[in-house]
């Protein structure tokens, strides 16, 4: 009996999968199958693509059904306190017992420190890029992940940082170390200037305004030739120096690498401390319920502005380093897609989770670099990741865990993180 039912259900799934695959074969028919050349008036029919689409959607549908069933079953069994609870308890034990966590951190630390000496300059360069995205991701995480403000123009502040170093260096010969705080400060200034009028807008409008602002900055950089040298960009930007020391390229890259590691550590330190503070709590609360926040005496605009400006500061800093790393910048580096990639890192990593963001940045930036075959599909996958994460796992790879407090028996003299 039971077996007959399983077969019946399976057959129903297969029928569903067939229908779905037919639908997708129809849907993708013009774009996937036909390729025309309107000038020479020739057509290429790529029927094999149709077969791939059909097969892929058939399998994906079946897999999706199985996954949903699995999830349902797991939910059911977790009600009887099972797997879920067990993993949770395991994780808790892991975090209560710091030894494995510390070992993991030590291994990661050793790996990070020895990286430029073990791998080639080329690899180190890629790693620097990845670390840059870690910093950008952590910066945007303050804005999007923690405070819940969807900023689609984040790259504008990155551009502000990059151009401030490039232009200051071009006109006044300002060095990297001097430009770094200036870039950060300018990023913050722009963040405040933009944030002030727009932060009282509702979430989705805020997203669009920031997107518009980001594009405005890019278009100005592209068209205002006298100021920014237009689309041809600025080249020969010096790499970061060390007390005026001349360094061969290889050393310079290694140096830059450690600088990035330092910046990542600094960022993690700052973000962690912020999350565990009065301001950080207010950000989380603001994400949860703005009206209740105001009723609790939180100045909505000011709190949002702080998050926005901090995010912008980090983008400005990352921008200066970006200019110093590539030694050449032009407006094409600061398109909306760049903002989308950073957003993707935050979403994949888990809104508000530091470890998650670091992991996601490394995965999303390193994977396409090392899997060359995959790199053409990079943006396609980024788009899909955004959709899939929202639908299946909105909390990200690693959801943020709330801090717990232990109250000592003497009426709670102090609060310690557990």
């Amino acid at each position: 009996m039971a077996r007959k039912r399983t077969i019946m259900i399976f057959l129903r799934d297969v029928r569903g999968a067939l229908l779905i695959s037919l639908w997708f074969m129809f849907l993708t028919f013009p774009i996937m199958v036909i390729k025309v050349n309107p000038i020479e008036r020739t057509v290429v029919w790529r029927w094999d693509n149709m077969a791939y689409v059909g097969l892929l959607s058939f399998l994906l549908y079946l897999a999706g059904r199985q996954y949903l069933k699995y999830r349902e079953r797991r939910l059911e069994s977790s009600r009887r306190q099972s797997m879920e609870e067990k993993t949770k308890r395991f994780l808790r034990r892991l975090s209560e017992n710091p030894v494995p966590a510390y070992t993991l951190m030590a291994v990661a630390g050793v790996f990070a420190l020895s990286f430029p000496f073990v791998f080639s300059t080329y690899q180190t360069n890629i790693m620097i890029t990845a670390l840059m995205y870690v910093v950008l991701g952590l910066g945007l995480n303050i804005v999007v992940g923690v405070a819940g403000l969807l900023d689609l123009g984040y790259v504008a502040f990155y551009a502000v940082g990059a151009y401030s170093y490039a232009l200051l260096n071009l006109h006044f010969g300002v060095g990297f170390w001097f430009a770094l705080p200036i870039g950060a400060l300018l990023g913050m200034t722009f963040g405040i200037l933009l944030g002030f009028p727009v932060l009282r807008l509702r979430g989705d409008y805020l997203a669009i305004v920031t997107l518009g602002f980001g594009e405005i900055i890019r278009l100005i950089l592209e068209n205002w030739n006298e100021f920014s040298k237009g689309p041809s960009g600025i080249s020969n930007i010096p790499r970061p120096g060390l007390f005026g020391l001349e360094m061969p390229l290889e050393t310079a890259i290694t140096y830059l690498y450690f600088l990035m590691i330092g910046l990542v550590l600094f960022t993690v330190f700052v973000v962690r401390r912020l999350q565990d503070s009065r301001i950080g709590r207010a950000w989380y609360a603001l994400r949860e319920d703005e009206i209740a926040c105001q009723a609790m005496g939180i100045d909505k605009t000011r709190t949002k502005l702080t998050a926005f400006a901090l995010g912008a500061t980090w983008a400005g800093m990352a921008g200066v380093i970006f200019a110093a790393k590539t030694t050449f910048i032009n407006p094409a580096s600061f398109t909306f897609l760049e903002s989308a990639i950073i957003l993707c890192i935050v979403v994949l990593g888990g809104m508000g989770s530091i470890v998650g963001v670091i992991l996601a940045a490394l995965i999303l930036i390193l994977l396409p670099e090392y899997l060359r075959a995959f790199s053409d599909y990079r943006m396609l996958v980024f788009g899909a990741v955004l959709v899939l994460m929202m639908v299946f796992r909105p909390q990200g790879l690693i959801g943020h865990r709330r801090r717990t407090y232990t109250i000592k028996p003497d009426a709670g003299r102090s609060g310690n993180a557990a």
């Binding site: 849907l27 013009p30 008036r41 989705d204 518009g212 594009e215 405005i216 278009l219 943006m379 959709v387």
Partner: protein
């Protein structure tokens, strides 16, 4: 004076195309409160479908009228199918999620569709053959308004009229308005809300596709990225008019089209897009409800 009239008509043409796209934004926003970020991509896919279908048909030496009709139908149908599928995959599972989740999902969809067309077709610009011939009777005024502009204007105006009549008088249109006002209530009185939402996406997508094919044949080239700018501009127009309001979207589109046309004609074309973006930022800051929209205070 001729130059002024020429700019005026080119502004109207621009505006009417924006209107076709903006209607989709505004209808979807009215019904599920989502900025359908992938809408511009639907427009782009509509244009690509039109290019593909019309080229294939012309290779098989179909008569021009048949090509025209079949192309319009095919691109509207396929775009509608894409709109329908996108809603089912990326938005429907998120109906109860926090407000920003479907928006992020929409951004993902937009990026996905752009790169899907880039990979399946081409990253380069494709020339788009003019679908609309030069009419002989337009000869005397061709200095100020071209034939294709005339066709675009007639076609968009009639489509907008049809849409208005549809929303006002048909059963489905009334159900749409009811769903836009109060989804729960609409469901309680027996309206199939899922069906209404799907219908909204299909209609909006079809309109965008027609806009896409008209403008592509007018300008003469397309690529995978045209949806992004067009989408943002149409969204600007929808917000300008008051998002959620159908007449507002049309009004906003014409205002945007005309101002853009005059600004690029008399001032400079370098900052054409900056202008639209700045307008968007300014409206959202100073009058987020738009010209015809109602401001809605959040319920406490």
């Amino acid at each position: 004076m001729d130059y002024f009239i020429e700019l005026f008509f080119s502004g109207l043409t621009r505006g009417s195309i924006y209107a076709l796209i903006a209607l989709g934004y505004t209808m979807v926003y009215g019904i599920i409160g989502l900025i359908n970020f992938a809408h511009g991509e639907i427009y782009m896919i509509g244009a690509f479908t039109a290019l593909i279908v019309s080229t294939v048909l012309s290779i098989y030496n179909m008569p021009l009228a048949a090509i025209l009709v079949l192309t319009v139908l095919a691109s509207a149908i396929w775009a509608g199918a894409y709109g329908f599928t996108v809603e089912k995959l990326a938005y429907k599972p998120l109906r109860k999620a926090p407000r920003l989740s479907p928006l992020i999902s929409a951004i993902g969809m937009s990026i996905f569709l752009q790169n899907y067309v880039l990979l399946a077709q081409t990253p380069d610009f494709l020339p788009f053959p003019p679908l609309i011939p030069e009419f002989a009777f337009m000869e005397p005024v061709s200095g100020v308004i071209g034939s294709s502009e005339l066709v675009i204007l007639t076609m968009t105006t009639s489509l907008m009229l049809l849409l208005t009549l549809f929303i006002k008088f048909t059963r489905l249109g009334k159900a749409m308005r009811a769903t836009a006002q109060d989804r729960t209530m609409a469901r309680l009185v027996g309206i199939n809300v899922n069906m209404i939402i799907s219908a909204t996406f299909i209609i909006g997508s079809g309109l965008a596709a027609i806009g896409g094919l008209l403008i592509a044949s007018h300008i003469g080239q397309i690529n995978f990225f045209i949806g992004f700018i067009a989408g943002i501009k149409a969204f600007t127009a929808a917000v300008l008019g008051g998002i959620g309001s159908v007449p507002g979207a049309v009004l906003g589109s014409f205002i945007l089209g005309l101002t853009e046309s005059f600004a690029t004609g008399y001032v400079s074309s370098d900052y054409e897009d900056v202008f639209a973006f700045s307008l968007l930022v300014l409206i959202l800051i100073f009058r987020p409800a738009g010209l015809l929209g109602k401001s809605s205070a959040e319920k406490v």
